[in-house]
Amino acid sequence: MSVKPEVFSKVQEALVDALGVDDDEVTEEATMVGDLGAESIDFLDIVFKLEKAFDITIPRDELFPDDILTNAEYIDGGKVTDAGLAKLKERMPFADLTKFEQNPLVQDFGNLLTVKDLCKYVETKTA
């Protein structure tokens, strides 16, 4: 399911401003970290810009579930446990975790989020 053009357009603008990337680099499939080069402080910048653009409030742990990824209850040997994956799915219903589930290394989680995920998240907030 594709995202709403008006949502994508505003998300794209926020990402171009926050990350200094070109419009055409911000595709729905682009990953925030791997493709667009987002670093930790950029995510805060993006959150601020999205909150302003869509007039919404974004609880920080919804987009970046650090509390789950650093909780010993949900991590074993550097991987997210089944219980942890269930928790992540509950917290982030907008994200496609299918690929991540195959080898859920905590270190790979940061590169999971795509532009499409971000758009879908915003859509849940503006619905």
Binding site: D42, L44, D45
Partner: protein, 179 residues
């Protein structure tokens, strides 16, 4: 070497905005040594000045108890250089902030003409992760803010003056006793 890149605050509204000025002087070695043949205040130091203005705007929200650091220069564009004799007028506006950081947008002008636009991100150092990290010696920090005249122009949104925080006054007392 001093690291003051704002000479004085001219306006300060807690949690909203701040204005300040920076007079460019030929007595500043960096003005003619940074880029020989191009006698101007380097853009990086103008950004530093805006960061000092914006960082103090963010820091004042916690009475300067939070440790605020410049985390990211989101964008900085300049239309001209700032030469000796020029007076840069800085203005920063707090766009958004939370427990993690803050976003500040700013503009600079010279003689009323647009000079630059600078957007910055600040981060709050977390107490749990950054233990025993003191950014400034407390009394020195208070002295710096006094020198920049922040408390002379600073007001709260309701117009009441911003007072020197008690912990800073105590730090100054300790410094005087010690020295």
């Amino acid at each position: 070497m001093r690291w003051f890149w704002v000479d004085r605050f001219t306006e300060f509204v807690s949690g909203e905005r701040a204005k300040g000025i920076k007079a460019v002087s030929l007595s500043e070695e960096v003005v003619d040594e940074y880029a020989p043949g191009r006698t101007c205040l380097p853009a990086s130091l103008i950004i530093e000045g805006m960061a000092q203005l914006g960082g103090l705007l963010v820091g004042q929200l916690s009475d300067f108890t939070d440790r605020i650091v410049l985390a990211k220069i989101t964008s900085a564009e300049f239309q001209m250089d700032a030469y000796p004799g020029d007076v840069l007028h800085f203005e920063v506006v707090l766009q958004n902030q939370d427990g993690i950081g803050a976003m500040v947008n700013g503009t600079t002008t010279i003689d009323g003409k647009p000079h630059g636009t600078i957007n910055l991100m600040f981060a709050r150092l977390e107490d749990e992760r950054f233990t025993d990290v003191e950014l400034f010696e407390p009394a020195e920090f208070c002295r710096m803010i006094r020198l920049m005249r922040l408390f002379e122009v600073g007001v709260n949104p309701d117009g009441t003056p911003i007072k020197v925080p008690e912990h800073m006054i105590e730090a100054e007392k300790r410094w005087f006793v010690k020295n």
